[in-house]
Amino acid sequence: MRIFLFIYFLIGLLLNCSAQSLAIQKKIKNQFLDSADFNLAFKTSADFHFSEAGNTSDEGNAAQAFVPSVLHASRDLFSSIAAFHYNTRRYRLKGLAPDFFQAFINDIPMNQLTDGMATWSNWGGLNEIMSNTQSVIGLTENDFSFGALGSATYINLKASQLRPQTTLSFFLSNRAYKYRFAFTKVMPINKRGWALAFSISNRMGNNVVVPGSYMLAPAYFFSVDKKIPHQLFSFVVLGVMNYSSRSAATTKEAIALAGSNVYNPNWGYQGGVMRNANMQYQHFPMALFSHEYQPADDLRFSSSIAFSTGEKRITGLDWYQAADPRPDYYRYLPSFQTDSLLRLQVLQLYQENPSLLQINWDRLYQVNRNSVTLIKNVDGIAGNQLLGLRSKYIVEDRVLQQNKFNASHRINFQITPKATLLAYMQFQLQQDHAYKQIIDLLGGEFYVDWNQFADDQLTNKDALQNDLGRPNRILTVGDSFGYNYIMRLQKFTAGTHVNAKLPRVDFFAGIELSEQTNQRIGLVRNGVFPMNSLGKSDKDRFSWLAIKAGLTYKYNGRNYFYFNTSIISKPPNINDYYISPRTRSTKSELVRNENILSAEAGYILNAPLVKCRINLYAAKFTNGMSRTSFYHDGYRNLVNYGLENISQSHLGTEMSAEFQISPSLRATTGIALAKYTYANRPTFSVAIDNEDFETEKGVLYIKGFPLAFLQSVAKNL
């Protein structure tokens, strides 16, 4: 890490820290004492050495001297324990949702405007060039942006700031993929001011652990930098084409029946080949242009723009007027039989024929070939008929086409030798186009653009039509159908941040203002919602403010006490307040920003042999809303469960310690205790995807209940 920081700030100088650190420490220490020459203190790289210096500083002098600050650039021990050990157990830092974790590449925010999540998979597999990365845990001081309640990760992909290397990598793994190959070449900046980097990699695997699983993910990266005095121009292109199988949750009963912990219900044999029904493809290539301008040592302007365009396809089965093709559907399993004799018969059947626990592709073809249907009034033209095989089972793609444009501008300014100022602006534009597409008719001749979930609305004959503009449309492979809409989102953010390092106290404060506009544009008139499915919806404008401040008391170079607090606001994600954007523009009645008040306090011990951190945090969330969509077997329809006015309180402590047993051996431990509860009674509403009213509404009596899916105790040694 330290190497990269030096590359970043002292371009062209490669310092081997372990060899020279002592000398530098002394030099820097002298600078502190002689504060006339303090220029270096501005640089993050120098921060690092302050703490190194702290470790060896003479405590007797500490009362008078400038006490070095705690470094934030190095990895926080607890969060690295969480990342390496708890994440595999779905641990969520401080109980926070994924949209509280941000990622930036060359200053460009990488979080989706739709759900707030960082798109890590868009650069997955490019490990070799991802090492110039800084993480800021929580809302603390930060040289790049406001940060995030969870963490903010800043990835630098400028060719001149990557570690020079020529690497050919080959990995064997037994998880999602089996092999990974990569070739990476980073050429450092030359005399003419050019630096070049590229990397290609490929991850591959068939049936690695889970039968029927599959992954093929070639990735590419190219970056070129041109440096002229005081300025740096950068261009980066990267992308990952990820073809992979999707995993499905299955039941304990199906796993027991299959006799395998890696039972996968998604595949079946077709013509002797394992065919997986649930697949996914995504490719969101991205191009970034950056410009850095440093007119003086104490002033730096960084600007970036980025374009991204691409698509994600989820391939799966769809069916209409036919039995569920999933072999592990609960009605097919022995436990569904209430009669013991029948249960035994079904159990024996599965024991004798394990192939019944896989998809029966042959049957899907037979059904489609049986399915002679007369379609009347094709395309809504009276008397226009078609007699043929209407597929009852199809393979469809749920397509998301995305275009993004991002721009950012940042100014870092050293106001006084002890205080820095950050000011920045970010603009994000995102357009998501979602629709379904026919991929395979599985032996049939056509499909019809009907809504299978609306065919029991006998009083409204139009309800069946997905597109009233073309009723009874005949679909063949490649046609788009079902829902078809665009989400257009734009966000503007501006913020500033001051950071002061006084002899005994470090202080920071930041403020950020944001505005986001969301709009749905329906491209088809849905039969169930003719009045609010087609065309542009009303724009939703959200404006919000976030404020943070923090104080660290530096008792001496080894003992630090800190207190950070923040008040932030956050608009609801579109999927949380649009009742069902697939079909209509209807929104929740009460759409408002969520407010989060949080504070943390702690103690850091930074001794040569023991490092320890105790952090207490509390956060109160109010006005939250969420929406969950799932298939409800009782309604035999997709339902949307909405929660509004959620208040939750998060309280907890994180403790981490590291003991240097010998120069080459260290022990680490991390403990987290937490209590995440609902703090009020939210209101709930249930809306069926294909009916224009709420079926249920009421108050949830869950005050004091723990939040689902969050761990309250985590330990690691």
Binding site: M279, Y332, N370
Partner: protein, 449 residues
């Protein structure tokens, strides 16, 4: 999306780093066509039924196989978790615990049922095949449907065959041996209180039984599930033929239809007062060569100020209209009949006579409206064209014979309706532009039960 295949050779993998194998998209083989099954039936369905002791539930333990053609399934949700198969001797209902059965077992498919392990029992006297028996209440053992995972084990699917012809039966022939058979009944109509009602209660999803009366005596129930896709369709009011699956519940005889095409009740009813005339106008009392003015009728010019006129030829009076010599760019004229209430009648039929003269393309059409207010602006209401035969093609003369309109059924209408004749023509300059056909109209009649 088609996904590229990954070759199983490590060396290729290394090569793939530089040449991404995006070209290797293999098309999967489609499974072969279903060529039926070599399973053979060992007993007739009649034999299976005869082996049943009334009131009993039997477990079938012999390795017998029956075969039959699917005559009913859940395609329109009137049959729930049930299919019916029949051979030349009899039919049997099979209870199957699944949805979308019609996908695997479409009408006309030959099926072979392996009876070993199945149960034969009754539900309200209706003999059924099931997968198990629930004896929670020992005095009413209940047959359980066959679990869906077992379908493929129990049922072998044969070829698609021609649907068996429904058996045309008289009321006296409806015996228990006919259970499940696809039957057809002639000269039948719904009881007056059950006409023009939804087939079932689609709002509360409740089953409804309507009474079917056979003209020669006898009645049975037309039973429809509230889940049926046609539950909201209104029952017809006429007399005719009906097809369906014969079922019983206790002593009740019932008929279950597969869809509304099974119901052909459009004729005149046999019961009640017989056909009667609801409306009649022969124009014999109108003044000649004057506007047609009859009490409660409306003769309205929408554009062009041309009206239906009273005329007489060989002592027969009629109404006539033509755009000829009007010099109007557009003529639209309405002749609206008095309101007619269809509530106390059924199977109404409209008929009338027309004659055309010097036909060059003007149009006379007959319309019906349920929302016309009876006022003098009929174009503001919603009108539906009634399909009828109207005279045409007498290009150089007056037609010599009246053209019969045919029997135009109004049985799908209820309440107060308006019927109107609308003439559309013009008298533009230029011989090819003119649409001046003269139409004569007479003998307007509506009959019903």
């Amino acid at each position: 999306m088609k996904y590229p295949t990954i070759p199983n050779y490590t060396l290729l993998f290394i090569g793939s780093l530089f040449l991404w194998p995006l070209g290797c998209i293999k098309n999967l083989d489609q499974p072969p066509l279903n060529e039926g099954t070599n399973v053979q039936a060992t007993i007739a369905i009649r034999t299976l039924r005869d082996g049943h002791i009334p009131g009993n539930t039997e477990r079938l333990i012999d390795n017998q196989i029956i075969t039959g053609i699917v005559t009913a399934n859940d395609a329109n949700d009137n049959f729930y978790k049930t299919i019916v198969i029949q051979d030349s001797t009899a039919a049997i209902t099979i209870r199957l615990d699944g949805f979308g059965l019609a996908a695997d077992y479409p009408l006309g498919k030959r099926l072979f049922i392996r009876l070993n392990g199945l149960f034969l029992g009754e539900y309200g006297g209706m003999l059924q095949l099931g997968g198990g028996v629930d004896k929670t209440n020992p005095s009413f053992p209940e047959l359980l449907p066959i679990p869906s995972p077992l379908f493929a084990k129990v049922i072998a699917i044969g070829n698609q065959e021609k649907m068996p012809e429904p058996l045309l039966v008289k009321f006296e022939q409806l015996k228990d041996t006919m259970q499940g058979r696809l039957i057809e009944i002639d000269s039948v109509e719904l009881a007056p209180s059950d006409t023009a009602k939804p087939f079932a209660d689609y709002v509360n999803k409740e089953t409804v039984s309507h009474t079917l009366r056979i003209c020669n005596g006898g009645s049975l129930y037309l039973r429809t599930s509230g889940f049926a896709s046609f539950a909201a369709v209104k029952t017809p009011r006429g007399n005719g033929r009906i097809k369906g699956i014969y079922t019983v519940f206790g002593s009740q005889k019932q008929l279950l239809i597969r869809d509304t095409a099974d119901v052909q009740l459009e004729g005149l009813r046999c019961s009640g007062n017989g056909p009667r005339i609801l409306f009649y106008e022969d124009f014999e009392n109108i003044p000649i060569n004057n506007f047609v003015q009859i009490n409660a009728w409306k003769n309205i010019a929408e554009t062009g100020s041309q009206f239906f006129l009273g005329k007489m030829v060989s002592n027969n009076r009629y109404a006539e209209i033509s755009a000829f010599a009007t010099a109007q760019p557009a003529i639209a004229t309405w002749l609206v009949l008095p309101p007619i209430n269809l509530n106390s009648s059924s199977s109404e039929q409209l008929s009338f006579l027309t004659k055309d003269a010097f036909d060059n393309g003007a149009v006379l059409q007959v319309y019906i409206s349920t929302n016309h207010d009876g006022g003098s602006q009929p174009w503001k209401a919603r009108w539906t064209v009634l399909k009828s035969t109207i005279a045409k093609g007498s290009v150089n003369s007056i037609a010599t014979k009246w053209t019969q309109s045919g029997k135009v059924s109004l049985s799908s209408y209820n309440g107060t309706v308006y019927i109107a004749f609308k003439y559309q023509g013009n008298d533009l300059p230029g011989i090819n532009n003119k649409k001046t056909t003269a139409f004569q109209l007479d003998e307007i009649k509506i009959v019903g039960n």
